[in-house]
């Protein structure tokens, strides 16, 4: 993968590739309705909506958000805390993402069909048989190199809507595809760079927190590298590319990676 810096005058050209991409508009249906009408801060606004759902009251939500923030900052490897932070803070932005998905034909299909990404549904063996350089093959290579599997994602607990819970789950499950697409490594600074990218795309508060507080844990050179190279790349590409939540990854496996990158408007990240 080669490194190319896109001069600004080409940004508009890139934008032409994805004319349907709107600025994300915050849509506050559930969030505002709940906030305006919660009978009290101590009562959960809904009943159990999906397996794994834990309805919590607004007060509990606040406490959990603060607690998980501190814990995740102290120890980013606590996946459950990171997940909890994302769910307690993400309500309004999940709605935004869901609405953007509704506007896109592919995203709408995803919402209707609700595909789940597990090692079974991904049929990893078949993917390993694909030619090198195809998206599917590189994805499996990435999984094997990092020794991770698509089954290790934390399930959703604290989102009070079944559809939004699916959106959150999908967001987590597609994380590995982002790595494959962008070429970012699974190092701390790589993850932070990816969080910047996601922040531009989705605006989720969790990504913002990681983006701003994450670098505090880096060494000086790592931080320098992050802000000199990764962050500008993330800003540019995050805004110019298609909303990746709308991508039905399962249908892109057989295409070469460069083609996928081109069609989605993402430049591969610079290698250092």
């Amino acid at each position: 993968m080669s490194f190319r810096i896109i001069p600004s005058r080409n940004i508009n050209a890139l934008r032409q590739l994805h004319p349907n991409r709107n600025r994300l508009a915050p849509c506050a249906t559930l969030f505002t309705a709940t906030l305006l009408t919660a009978k009290s801060l101590l009562e959960a606004p809904t009943s159990k909506l999906y397996p794994g759902h834990v309805p919590i009251s607004p007060l509990q939500r606040g406490i959990l958000a603060v607690g998980s923030a501190f814990t995740a900052l102290a120890n980013p490897l606590r996946g459950d805390m990171v997940a909890a932070l994302g769910e307690t803070t993400g309500g309004m932005f999940l709605e935004r993402i869901r609405d953007q998905m509704l506007l896109d034909p592919e995203g709408r299909r995803i919402l209707r069909e609700r595909p789940v990404i597990t090692s079974e549904t991904m049929q990893l063996d078949k993917l390993r048989e694909l030619p090198d350089g195809t998206f599917g093959r590189e994805y499996v290579r990435f999984l094997d190199d990092q020794q991770v599997s698509p089954d290790t994602r934390e399930p959703v607990h604290f989102v009070d809507s079944e559809e939004l819970a699916y959106v959150m789950q999908r967001y987590r499950e597609t994380h590995d595809f982002y790595h494959t697409l962008t070429g970012l490594p699974v190092t701390v600074d790589g993850e932070i760079a990816l969080k910047w990218f996601e922040m531009v795309q989705t605006g989720l508060p969790m990504t913002m927190l990681s983006s701003f507080f994450g670098p505090l844990r880096l060494s000086h050179e790592e931080r320098k590298r992050l802000f000199d190279i990764y962050v500008p790349w993330a800003l540019e590409n995050g805004s110019n590319s298609k909303l990746l939540m709308n991508v039905r990854w399962e249908e892109w496996f057989e295409k070469p990676v460069e083609q996928v990158q081109r069609e989605l408007g993402v430049q591969p990240c610079p290698q250092v």
Binding site: A33, T34, K39, T46, D99, L103, D160, S161
Partner: protein
């Protein structure tokens, strides 16, 4: 005209002549209008073609016709010589025979104040109560956040004498299912054509009893001019009305009038003649009207939502459903020009599905559907399936969230009446002044407003009522009704209230035209708060019903 003949006879002879001539007329009202001809504006015309009038009303729409009726029914104003000029064929109105299962697409809501006025001028009793629907409740909600405010006639404690007078007598009172203790509906919905019908009938009745009301229909105004007086003092034998405006019609006829009334709509030629500037802006929205058939059993409101007006504020503009009788409703949907044009072209079933989506689905869903209408007006996806899918998802969510299931839902639309879908541009205009020397503006010629609050027609009728009253007062004070000092009380009374209404409606339309998060949050909070504050809601209702004002100083003795 016989007035010219009469100019050569003596005063006494004139009275006798006319008294004899009028003997065979059937008077419903008391007066010997034997002096009516005598009272006509009696001048030696400038040229053989110019005919003098006291009042010429340009524009035979609802405002112009209502003014003609109001003047004709006044004790003093009814003795004047009045002309009404209208470009279209008014006999369409008088011969209006609608089918019971068809409603015209231009429907207006009439406030109690407007209805009281129509009663006073005798028009309300000419209307068919089966085609008037009482609106007893209003549900208005934010399409983005769901925050809602409801108005209910049952909770309005207004038992003021004004309202009692409005409802006391008329046997054809349309709100009469409940018997004697009726509360006032918030408004009445009826077709504009229906009101026009009543107005035309009443005008003819006035003509038949001898009021000098000349109606020039199917006639356009070709030009209006004013001659500046240049007659020398020695020329004192003939009357000099050269300062009066001269209206030239396209059939060559010329009228010269003491007072020229512009009721000729938003692009008023009378206003241009008077050099009154009109400022405002065009909204980047079109309003689409249509007549719908709805299924009340699908509504979760009280009494299946009969008599309830529904309005949802979408980011592209508000959509409103106004109740009519027998399962019909009128749609007013303010939206972008492109969507309005597409809506017109859609097949009927898809149009109904889209209207239902506009009331029930999320704005994102609606946007998706609107984007998927082809240039030929055909939907590019299956609207029905998409809507059903989204409705099923929302159903699950609404059962879970305690509050949302309590919100009443409007009835589902089952059909749209053919040829009733029509878009029109929306704009706001206000004239700098309503009066000039010998010229006055009423209705849309003076001000135009966004339809979201249903106030435009009511403002016009309030203008007409005030002007008729001011002209009557001027006559009783012996003033020249065209003198600017005689017209100033009208301007004082109407200018500020109209401006306030225009400003409020404009701000509301701008406030709800966005889906930007903080604004949505703030406005939802505000709306919910007001919904819970009884006294403030009552005040808003009274303002919207036209009950907030006190009689003007013109009426004070």
């Amino acid at each position: 005209m016989s007035t010219r003949l009469l100019s050569h006879t003596t005063a006494r002879a004139r009275i006798t002549l006319l008294a004899n001539a009028k003997k065979h007329h059937n008077h419903r009202l008391v007066p010997a209008l034997s002096c009516s001809r005598f009272l006509s504006t009696h001048a030696t015309p400038d040229s053989s073609e110019t005919e003098p009038y006291d009042v010429v009303i340009v524009g035979g729409g609802i405002a112009g016709s209502a003014l003609a009726c109001a003047l004709a029914s006044g004790k003093a104003t009814g003795t004047q010589k009045i002309a009404l000029i209208e470009a279209f064929d008014l006999s369409n109105h008088i011969n209006w025979k609608p089918r019971a299962d068809q409603y015209s697409n231009r429907v207006s809501s009439l406030t109690p104040k407007s209805v009281a006025f129509l009663k006073r001028i005798g028009v309300w009793s000419e209307l068919d109560s089966s085609r008037i629907a009482a609106c007893n409740g209003m549900q208005v909600w934010d399409g983005v956040s769901g925050a809602r405010i409801t108005f209910d006639a049952a909770h309005s404690n207004d038992r003021s004498t004004f309202l009692q007078q409005v409802f006391a007598d008329a046997p054809q009172s349309p709100s009469s299912e409940q018997g004697s203790d009726q509360q006032s509906p918030l408004a009445w919905m009826t077709e504009n054509l229906h009101v026009q019908y009543g107005l035309q009938k009443q005008m003819l009745a006035h003509k038949n009893r001898g009021v000098q009301l000349d109606i020039f229909e199917k006639t356009k105004v070709q030009g209006i001019s004013a001659n500046v007086s240049s007659s020398s003092p020695q020329e004192s034998s003939s009357t000099d009305i050269s300062e009066w405006p001269v209206i030239t019609l396209d059939n060559g006829k010329k009228l010269q009038t003491r007072l020229l009334v512009g009721a000729d709509g938003v692009n008023s030629p009378v206003r241009s003649f008077a050099k009154i500037e009109s400022l405002g802006w065009d909204y980047s929205q079109f309003g689409l009207v249509a007549t719908l058939e709805v299924d009340h059993s699908t509504s979760t409101a009280l009494d299946q939502g009969k008599g309830v007006a529904w309005q949802r504020f979408l980011p592209t503009g508000p959509i409103a459903m106004l109740p009519l009788n027998n399962g019909y409703a009128s749609l007013v949907w303010s939206t972008t020009p492109k969507i309005a044009q597409d809506l017109k072209k859609l097949p009927a079933q898809d149009f109904c599905a889209l209207v239902n989506a506009a009331f029930h689905a999320s704005p994102a869903d609606l946007e998706y559907l609107c984007r998927n209408i082809g240039p030929d007006g055909q939907p590019q996806v299956d609207f029905q399936k998409e809507i059903e899918w989204r409705a099923s998802v929302q159903e699950l969510e609404s059962h879970a969230v305690a509050r949302q299931s309590k919100d009443a839902k409007p009835p589902k639309v089952t059909a749209v009446q053919e040829n009733t879908r029509a878009p029109f541009p929306l704009r706001m205009r206000n004239s700098n002044s309503y009066v000039e020397d010998r010229v006055v503006l009423v209705g849309d010629a003076a001000h135009t407003v966004h339809p979201l609050a249903g106030q435009g027609l009511n403002q016009g009728l309030a203008d007409v009522e005030c002007l008729a009253r001011v002209i009557e007062q001027s006559l009783l004070s012996g003033s020249d009704i065209g003198n600017i000092h005689s017209l100033t009380p009208y301007s004082s009374e109407r200018f500020l209230p109209n401006l306030a209404m225009l400003g409020t409606v404009d701000k509301l339309s701008k406030l709800y035209n966005t889906d930007f998060g903080p604004v949505v949050w703030a406005r939802s909070l505000g709306l919910t708060a007001v919904d819970n504050m009884g006294p403030i809601k009552t005040e808003i209702m009274r303002f919207a019903m036209g009950l907030e004002d006190v009689p003007s100083s013109a009426a004070r003795r």
